[in-house]
Symmetry: C2
Subunit: 228 residues, 2 copies
């Protein structure tokens, strides 16, 4: 049973739908007065709504889980509770290959953990056991490697646009940078003027940036230098 109709709910639905051994219901979370009982109920709604939905489910039987990276497992009020969090940024419209999506799992009871593990494996996903605290910390790490990294790309594109340089020249470098850290640690992979303490290049670069870019360049450069 999947409650919700957002991106996560829709993508999970599509994935589970292909698995013949799962009997599946999807329910619009705003109108589930008479939802059928099922082994696992997945509350795939916005973070704010999870607790309220759980309360509305009352003394529902079976395992009740949410799919949020940030909300504690304690937001679920039922006795058999858990978290079934797929770590990926889902985009509406584009299909998801779940075999590349890791699931972070947490349950109150050990046997329920194996149920979630089996569910994830049915769609080909790797699973990891993380408690609510770890999941929240990982979400912060994800902000750095996803949201903030994307902003670095945005600045790169801004600089290219101003100087009429096709941003696509940088695509292979971006791909290589992302691939490299799957083989060696980011610390070992670090290169560039900050890492080399190449003050002359750093000074030249700063002269060509706008004030916001300059502030960021200075701070990240300092951070890289402090890390050595």
């Amino acid at each position: 049973m999947i409650l919700g109709q957002g991106n996560v709910a829709t993508h999970l639905w599509s994935a589970f739908h292909k698995v013949k051994t799962i009997e599946l219901f999807q329910v619009n979370s705003r109108a589930f007065s008479a939802i059928p009982v099922s082994d696992v109920t997945i509350i795939a709604v916005t973070d704010d709504a999870i607790e309220e939905i759980s309360q509305q489910l009352g003394s529902r039987k079976g395992l009740i889980v949410h799919t949020s990276g940030t909300v504690s497992m304690q937001a679920i009020h039922q006795q058999r509770k858990g978290v079934f969090y797929p770590l990926q940024s889902f985009t509406k419209g584009s299909s998801v290959n779940f075999s590349t999506v890791p699931f972070c799992l947490e349950t109150r009871h050990e046997r329920d953990f194996f149920t979630l593990q089996s569910l994830a494996k049915l769609v080909g996903s790797k699973t990891y056991r993380l408690n609510s605290d770890q999941r929240q910390k990982m979400h912060i790490a994800a902000v750095f490697v996803n949201n903030f990294t994307n902003h670095m790309y945005a600045i790169g594109k801004d600089i290219c646009d101003v100087h009429e340089i096709p941003f696509e020249i940088l695509h292979p470098l971006i791909a290589e940078t992302a691939k490299k850290i799957t083989n060696i640690s980011p610390k070992e992979a670090q290169t560039g003027p900050a890492k080399r303490n190449d003050e002359e290049t750093i000074k030249t670069h700063l002269e060509h940036l706008n004030s916001q870019q300059e502030e960021l360049y200075t701070l990240v450069t300092k951070a890289i230098q402090n890390k050595q």
Copy 2:
């Protein structure tokens, strides 16, 4: 003719060596008193050494180019000069697939441009025409999308390590983030608490960071918010 024995020189050598139509010489840049004349001389040495090497080459015939992203074409003193800059971070020991490496080309004379273009195409590379100013600006953009992005990965790993979370959980997200901007612009791809102006999540995240991470989180968040 390739002068130099660093990473770029070695990788270029390996690539050109496979092309039967190129007759190739590689020379240790510290001992080239009697180097043979060739159509194209590629000075693939450290940035600081380019001008000196060019001067030592005297009135050498043929096209003389360097391979630096930051040094101006004017560092070459010969009349027929150019730049043959492969945009990729080369690592010692790991082989390079040049078909994914874009070359940024610049020459003083138009016919020499086509020579460099042909050379790059022989190893399967895409080419772009950039002048020295554009190349230097693109190098700054590369610092953001490569060096600074890598530092975002490093912080992500630090957070994971402290909380005993396997960093590999984030690998698929990192790959997806890098891939996304080849289809849509980084600005369109931006997600996360900063983009959503989700002040509550931002506040919670800041409480869990060390002072340097906090400073960076605040600045990048502000930058993303200003960009909307």
